[in-house]
């Protein structure tokens, strides 16, 4: 059953073959463009039963033209399956569409990803800092954020 689902996923989510790969841990990996994300996720949720949104994070590749790789993870509670979506965006416009309308839990995770990498989730209207604090400049998990840079809220004694 799982194998059939995988096959049909591979064929239907991204029509051009070869776009999806199976990672060593049995996670189906799709590389999508920015516009394909929401339609693909809607089909994953509504047709293939991936009802659990696990996480959204990003990877910073400083040397690449499309610098940031936004990574979504989904799981199915009916099948022992996971799906990973990778979407590359450029530093000049690091934005992807929000999934908060499809998965309510996405809203907070997108806030965290916005904190750490500065990815803008279009349609998520509450991107206030969630782990960081108001006034924090920059995005600490980007590779160009200096390791020793501190932004204290309390003046140091010495």
């Amino acid at each position: 059953m799982a194998a059939t689902l995988l096959e049909s996923l591979q064929q239907q989510i991204v029509p051009e073959a070869g776009a999806a790969t199976l990672s060593h841990d049995g996670c189906l990996v799709f590389r999508l463009t920015r516009d394909e994300v929401v339609p693909a996720v809607r089909r994953l949720k509504e047709e293939f039963g991936f009802d659990l949104f696990l996480d959204v994070t990003a990877v910073d590749w400083p040397a690449d033209a499309l610098r940031f790789e936004v990574v979504h993870h989904f799981a199915s509670t009916r099948q022992p399956l996971r799906v990973r979506l990778k979407t590359r965006v450029a530093q000049a416009d690091p934005s992807v569409d929000s999934l908060a309308k499809l998965y309510g839990s996405a809203a907070f995770m997108e806030r965290e990803c916005h904190d750490m990498y500065g990815i803008v989730f279009i349609g998520n209207h509450d991107l206030r800092p969630i782990l960081l604090y108001e006034g924090f400049a920059g995005h600490p998990l980007r590779k160009d954020y200096p390791k020793t840079r501190e932004q204290p809220l309390v003046p140091y004694r010495h």
Binding site: L132, Y133, P140, Y145, K147, T148, R149, E150, Q151, P152, L153, V154, Y156, R157, H158
Partner: protein, 174 residues
């Protein structure tokens, strides 16, 4: 015997040995320090994994109650020992400062574990590299986490420090 010569503290009849004592001589600072060092009321500001070690040292096998420092007060207004147990982040720093400022004098601060002492292995955007950047610290306990013996040693060192201190109780100087 007229009223003027009657002592205020009743004394035992001449020669009787009942063990009562009527007065003692000491130094004020020694007396107050002795009282204070055995009645530390800790406020545990516990943020991270060192909490496990705090529980271990508080519980019966090691038992900080032997040093008069067992009863945690969960209001800083009732505490005189601030135990900072675990990593403090920049986001938490204003809270720690507020807790410290709410404590009444006299007050002491213990940095429990290497994160509170120096930031430990953290050097990043989030961690404060030692709480002494924000508030004054009286005793540092290294270790990740510290052994209970180290914590007890820290409490004893703090007790020595309190016993050796000046304790102004009436005026600024006395």
């Amino acid at each position: 015997m007229d009223a003027r010569t009657v002592p205020i503290v009743p004394v035992a009849p001449q020669g009787a040995k009942d063990g009562a004592f009527e007065y003692l001589t000491t130094r004020k600072d020694e007396l107050v320090g002795w009282a204070r060092k055995f009645s530390l009321f800790p406020y545990p500001f516990v943020t991270a994994c060192c909490a496990m070690e705090f529980m271990a040292v508080s519980a019966s096998p090691y038992d900080t109650d032997r040093f008069g420092a067992a009863l945690p007060r969960f209001s800083p207004r009732q505490a005189d020992l601030l135990m900072v147990v675990g990593t403090v982040t920049h986001k938490q720093a204003p809270v720690l400062l507020k807790v410290y400022e709410q404590m009444c004098e006299p007050k002491w601060v213990m940095a429990f574990g290497v994160c509170a002492s120096s930031g430990g292995f953290y050097q990043n955007y989030a961690a404060v590299l030692g709480i002494d950047r924000i508030i004054p610290v009286d005793v540092y306990i290294p270790g990740c986490p510290p052994r209970p013996e180290m914590v007890i040693d820290g409490i004893m060192q703090l007790q020595d420090k309190i016993a050796r201190s000046q304790h102004a109780i009436l005026t600024r100087t006395f």
